[in-house]
Amino acid sequence: MRPVQYNTNSKVKMVDLPPGYAGEGFYATSFDKVVGLARKNSLWPLPFATSCCGIEFMATMGSNYDLARFGSERMGFTPRQCDMLLVAGTISKKLGPILRQVYIQMAEPRWVVAIGACASTGGIFDSYSVLQGIDQVIPVDVYVPGCPPRPEGIIDGILKLQELVGNESLRRRTSDQYTALMQSYGIQ
């Protein structure tokens, strides 16, 4: 039958429009909200997976849990293309500077999710060789608890991050507060 009609009985959910002023042939809203909407539904993840949390993350990206449903693009294995750094696993002190380097190579705006107990606090590895939480070397936006967290937990963490991204002010990255935060990590 022509023309073919796709998705006539679809359950595909479209993103809601942000509040604004609509009329005949036009729609007006604030720039912040449009940019936030676009950013939060097309986050490009950069996985930095070192151990078992990485396995759970792979399940999250696989077809059963399918993170792409929530508006997450494909994984990009280069920091230059990505805006969401997912640190999954134990980070040793020797690996700390490398993680920092990866973070620095990402372009602004960038967000970081610490997946699991090790990335968040060092976890059970209360040891001379393990970094006691990645927030010692880079700023973290969302912490996902668990050892390792289930894919549902990781999805929840990313949804939380989407909330942050969607509501972020466009001036945040140039604010004094943000510059001070970066300087406290010795970045820039």
């Binding site: 002190k93 040891s127 001379y128």
Partner: protein, 164 residues
């Protein structure tokens, strides 16, 4: 080839300088630090024994044994006879010096670096004696008993939380 043969050969060559002990069905040979290369070379060259494979090299720290705190352990394997041997050297912690085995076994290179990294054993003549596993800016030898297992700089984990 049995442990008795090995004992005989070693005693004939090195006399009273080495001592023996059987532990977990394996012969321990304890020897003075300055003799390690000569003894390993002898075990390597001997036409019958042929200990030509270095399985492992590590150290142990005994803080209570004054004057011989660090124990350096070599595990040798004679592939032809399928027989294993443990060499032990005790050195004081102030002067943890032994000769490197890298000329004899190329595989000793990284093992000696690891032993240096964790115990601070100074392998004299090693071509590249620097840290291998730990961060280079680390300023102590973490497997020595005077250092705690835990991260000394941690602030958020108190002993109560971890039941210590």
């Amino acid at each position: 080839m049995t442990y008795d043969n090995i004992r005989e050969k070693l005693t004939a060559n090195f006399g009273e300088q080495v001592s023996y002990e059987e532990q977990y069905d394996m012969l321990n040979v304890t020897l003075p630090a300055e003799l390690n290369l000569k003894l390993m070379q002898f075990l390597y060259d001997d036409e019958e024994m042929k200990f030509r494979f270095l399985t492992d090299l590590t150290a142990t720290h005994f803080p209570d044994r004054k004057g011989e705190e660090l124990n350096i352990i070599y595990h040798l394997h004679s592939l032809e006879n399928n027989i294993r041997l443990r060499l032990k050297i005790y050195v004081p912690i102030e002067t943890p010096d032994v000769f490197t085995a890298t000329r004899l076994f190329a595989g000793a290179n990284w093992m000696e670096r690891e032993t240096y990294d964790f115990f601070g054993v100074n392998f004299i003549g090693h071509p590249n004696l620097k840290r291998i596993l730990n961060a280079e800016e680390m300023d102590y030898f973490p497997m020595r008993k005077e250092y705690t297992m835990e991260d000394p700089k941690r602030t958020d984990k108190d002993d109560e939380m971890f039941g210590r």
